[in-house]
């Protein structure tokens, strides 16, 4: 229950006009702060799912396969330049963003991550991180402006941010994975 309330509080804070203006005014903050935080809210909510429900969901989500597929597919939409424009231009798409990132990305991923196991997690990261890097690189070097609502230099900053995020997450998880399998001295 506490987790659910905390998740709800996070979504409410992100939905405040002041924080929306601040985060959505900058493309990098939109993509790399607001969107991940909304997914995080979903992950927090997943921690509050009662055990009985978890078991019921797990029958449909063996080894976290369906939840991971859902989260990967739903999150890929938010790397499409048009999606960012639509979220700014249409209130309906903005509401969709606030609903789908917690429910279709964060929560399913949190419910699936442990069942995936080490190999599954590695497989997911090996797919997702290069995708971030490629999208980031495309944003950074695109000769045209991809979003009507963001300036060209913002697009470059967001692209570099995505690249940095990809490398950072990759290096961190790689280090942690190595440490966990390395023999203790």
């Amino acid at each position: 229950m506490t987790w659910m309330l905390a998740a709800l509080a996070l979504v409410v804070v992100l939905a405040l006009p002041a924080s929306r203006d601040a985060l959505e005014g900058v493309m990098a903050a939109h993509m790399l702060v607001q969107i991940p935080l909304l997914a995080l809210a979903g992950a927090m909510a997943a921690c509050g799912v009662p055990l009985a429900w978890r078991t019921r969901i797990a029958a449909w989500n063996r080894r976290g396969v369906s939840g991971t597929a859902l989260a990967l597919l739903a999150s890929s939409w938010w790397m499409v330049p048009r999606a960012l424009d639509l979220a700014l231009a249409s209130p309906a798409m903005e509401v969709t963003k606030f609903a789908t990132l917690p429910l279709l990305v964060g929560a399913p991923l949190a419910l699936s991550w442990r069942p995936l196991g080490g190999v599954g997690q590695g497989f997911v990261l090996a797919n997702v991180l290069p995708m971030w890097a490629v999208v980031g690189w495309l944003y950074a070097v695109a000769p045209v402006r991809l979003c009507n609502f963001y300036l060209a230099d913002q697009q470059v900053a967001a692209g570099i941010g995505l690249l940095v995020a990809s490398v950072t997450v990759g290096a961190t998880t790689g280090f942690l994975a190595f440490r966990s399998i390395a023999p203790a001295r």
């Binding site: 029958a59 939409w77 639509l86 609502f149």
Partner: protein
């Protein structure tokens, strides 16, 4: 084998259903994966369904009043610029300059059909500034006119109809999407082309437009 497969039935069904649903939504959001950017979506939408644009009052570089509706029955290409622009509009105007030259060459043998209008979305662009800009672009001010929109409400309505998003960039610049907008003989926005479209590209589009028109009128009967 049964023991291996059976427990996965629900997960397989859930995975398939979720991927189909989310995939269909993404396909819808990207025009069937054909529009990853708003600009491409705008072009697809215009090509699919030509749209009427409001006949807002324009004033050209010589102070003459007119509207885009005056061009009905003619073929017209429109672009959006502001005279102080040093980036995209420069490219867009260079494209129009070439189109104008190519069309002028055609005029000699009497086949000129395409008129050009450059509309400024900058409220500080005066007829004087537009005239100076036209001279710099060696435009004659008749077949290629430069116009401003005096009323700010009308300006917003016209930009909205064309799908042009203008973001002010202090102190005196703007970021905006730029393209060649082709109007058909009914005065509708019918095609949006890259800003470096050549006369050949325009001809090709005009032909596909008249073909589409012929099909439409044939089915009407």
């Amino acid at each position: 084998m049964r023991d291996l497969v059976l427990p996965w039935r629900r997960t397989a069904a859930a995975t398939l259903a979720l991927c189909l649903i989310v995939g269909a939504l993404i396909a819808y959001g990207t025009d069937g994966f054909r529009a990853m950017t708003s600009e491409q979506a705008r072009r697809n939408a215009v090509a699919r369904a030509p749209r009427l644009v409001p006949a807002v009052a324009l004033e050209d570089q010589d102070g003459r009043r007119f509207t885009l509706a005056d061009y009905r029955g003619q073929l017209l290409a429109v672009n959006f610029v502001y005279t102080r622009c040093r980036a995209l509009c420069t490219l867009s105007s260079a494209g129009f300059e070439r189109l104008d030259r190519e069309e002028r060459g055609r005029a000699a043998d009497g086949t000129r059909r395409l008129a050009l209008v450059s509309i400024s979305f900058d409220s500080s662009d005066t007829p004087e500034r537009l005239r100076e800009y036209a001279t710099r672009r060696s435009a004659d001010g008749r077949t290629w006119r430069f116009a401003r929109i005096r009323d700010s409400g009308a300006r917003a309505a016209l930009l909205e109809a064309f799908g042009i998003v203008v973001i002010p960039m202090p102190p005196a610049d703007f970021q905006h999407n730029a393209a060649v907008h082709l109007m058909d003989a009914d005065g509708r926005l019918a095609r949006v082309l890259d800003l470096d479209a050549t006369a050949l590209d325009v001809r090709r589009e005009l032909e596909s437009m008249t073909d589409a028109h012929r099909v439409a009128t044939a089915t009407d009967r």
